[in-house]
Amino acid sequence: MNCRVLYFARLRERFDLAEESVELAGTPSVADLLAHLQARGGVWVEELGATKSFRVAVNQQLVKTDAHIPDHAEVAIFPPVTGG
């Protein structure tokens, strides 16, 4: 399956990437996507490691890492929000 992954704020700058298309096998969860991204090493491990604080939204809804990612979903990964 394929999903579109967006990065925002500090993570966009750290990854030097605003969005990309990611191919994953089977019916992946958010945790599977994160493992796929962490396997790139470097800044991806630094920012998406288990001790790091970040948020994930699937199709514009905040979700936990066990959430399923539907095919063609829009997944966004971003730092904890700081509006208001």
Binding site: A57, Q60, L62, F78, P80, G84
Partner: protein
Amino acid sequence: MKISVQTEPFDIGIETAAMSNGRTDIGAIASFIGLARDRNSGSEVSAMTLEHYPAMTEKALAAIIDEALQRWTLLDVTLIHRVGRLLPGDPIVLVIVASSHRAEAFAACEFLMDALKTRAPFWKKEETFEGERWVEARESDNAAADRWRTNENNRNT
């Protein structure tokens, strides 16, 4: 209900008048304005830029308002959040809540801000003398948002 994500400033007088205009059932209007400060974490801040996730922002704000409507009997809500570059003293966010009595309006206004602070996809980047830096989320904001969860649990038990 009004939700707006905009670069332009807002006018609380105009927004409040729009809310109460032509109706006589509103007994209380509570409001909150968040402003850009000139200091944060020990540094002077000369400006800040607010980024957001356009596809999600209005959905997240609408979900927060829906939750408030389930918790309290509210007659109207206005929520305006600015994005783009702001200077110290500039207003960032406006929440206005109308209800029959003050308790609902006060509580819902505070709830909406606490929920927005932890769930709406906005990020602040500050310009300081030491350079640019992303504002870090504060644990106290999570604690403030969690209070409402605790209250809900208490209500259920």
